[in-house]
């Protein structure tokens, strides 16, 4: 892995027109956000790469009904607007409504058949990653029940394939593809953490166990990556609850114990599947009946 330099992420408060190079109808007023994941990565993009990537994803329309149907049904009525918390909290700024976000990203890509500029891609990244959190409320407000967030997800997929992803999330995604957990915790670190936490907690609770790799247990517990890394008291509390409640539980020793799926958020489908598969493989190997996740 190339070493990643820590870059200060800051927000400039003054409002300004974003990307004067864009077409007039696509220019929207936003606060400037500095993120190396956006600013540095778009420098490496070429028009050919953008076009090829966008068209590869857009071609999924021909095979995916969930992608196709909303594009061919939406009558542009903007009744989804009231659903969006970004739209409401920005004093009903029309550029924040769910349909507008599609109009500024996916529909424009389709209209131009993928021939868009790196600046346009950067604006898409800002919209898809920082102005929509894929909460699905717009589907409750759409008279047709269209899955608008699925479309935003496809924009994120394009951006991920182009590498234009928030710096922090891409780091966690890289971690998941290498270690199956989001914070670069090695297998040795994970086992060590569980064992010293057991040692310490046994001072207060007699005969308490954090059973690692117990085959045939009732429950396998999968924490969030942050718990063994920076919030070990959560591991302790879960352990105490399990012991006091008398639950037959275990944690796996092998990778695939993190229930966080950062890859899902940026639509890195390959890593996303491996993370889920890792959890289920551990369950199968330990022959547990139930998988318990934090949160």
């Amino acid at each position: 892995m190339a070493e990643v330099k820590a870059v200060e992420v800051k927000e400039v408060i003054t409002e300004e027109v974003l990307e004067p190079s864009l077409d007039k109808e696509l220019r929207i007023k936003r606060k400037k956000v500095v993120d190396p994941g956006f600013d540095e990565t778009i420098k490496k993009l070429t028009p050919e790469k953008i076009e090829k990537t966008i068209n590869a994803v857009l071609n999924l329309r021909k095979t995916a009904a969930r992608f196709l149907a909303p594009l061919e049904t939406c009558i542009h009525c903007a009744l989804c607007s009231d659903a969006c918390q970004y739209y409401i909290s920005h004093d009903k700024d029309p550029t924040y409504s769910p349909a507008s976000k599609l109009r500024l990203t996916l529909w424009e890509m389709i209209r131009r058949k993928g021939k868009v500029s790196p600046e346009f891609i950067k604006q898409c990244a800002r919209i898809a990653f920082t102005e929509c959190n894929i909460c699905h409320r717009c589907s409750i407000y759409c008279p047709f029940g269209l899955d608008i967030t699925y479309q935003i997800g496809m924009v994120r997929r394009i951006l991920f394939l182009l590498g234009v992803v928030p710096h922090n999330i891409l780091d966690q995604d890289n971690s998941q593809s290498a270690t199956l957990n989001q914070l670069w915790i090695s297998q040795a670190d994970w086992i060590d953490t569980i064992q010293w936490l057991e040692d310490e907690t046994r001072l207060e609770y007699k005969n308490l166990r954090f059973p690692i790799e117990k085959e045939g247990a009732e429950v396998m517990w999968a924490p969030l990556g942050t718990e063994p890394k920076i919030a070990t008291y959560h591991v302790v509390r879960t352990g105490i609850i399990m012991n006091v409640a008398g639950i037959d539980w275990t944690v796996p020793s092998k990778d695939g114990w993190d229930s966080v799926n950062m890859a899902m958020f940026i639509r890195d489908f390959e890593t996303m599947q491996r993370v889920v598969l890792g959890l289920y493989e551990n369950c199968l190997r330990l022959k547990v009946k139930r998988l318990v996740l934090t949160e």
Binding site: A69, P70, T73, H76, A78, S97, A99, R103, P143
Partner: protein, 224 residues
Amino acid sequence: MYDFIKDPTIYNLVRGPLVWIAFIIFVGGSVYRIYTLITLAKKEKVVFPYMSLKYSLRSLLHWLIPFASNNWRKRWVMTTVTFLFHICLVITPIFLLSHNILWHESWGISWWTLSEGTADVMALVVISGCLFFLIRRFVAPEVKFVTFASDYILLAITFLPFITGFLAYHQLLLPYKTMIVIHMLFGEVMLIAIPFTRLGHMLYFWLTRSFMGSQFGWFQSRDW
């Protein structure tokens, strides 16, 4: 030009073969679009496992009854107009007296008809509904932002058969024979356009709504 349009040959053309072509394309196209979408959905592993008749009907019902869903209540003006518009849009052409006479002359079938006065009012509702949607596209900023040229074209495709029919009935603007030929042409254009444009929301509404209703039902939630 007028002479050309009111020429009996043109009338026979739009009254005969073009009607057949329009209806065949409309029915065939609709079946094709629904069939292809369902086949595609079957290939996706996450569509059909969610589908549930109970949750689909529950969702469809709440969105087909005016003011039964949260958003219908919030946007009450839009709700009133859109329900009146869509009801009149579908009912008027099917139960219009003169359309029934044409069917009776051609195939000897006819059914219950609207009185001419009622049909007149219903056509006016559709026409004013179109104007409402047009004005909304200019006035409401969130709608204006997502408006494309195609939206105006779709609105025109809906508007023209009704305005020409209305004008023909009242014998305004153009001579009756010319107007009725134009009316028939635009009606045929609309029928052909339904399966192949976003007017196809008439067909896809049932499917997309059912899927979303089933998904929300699966998670013990509701989508209205």
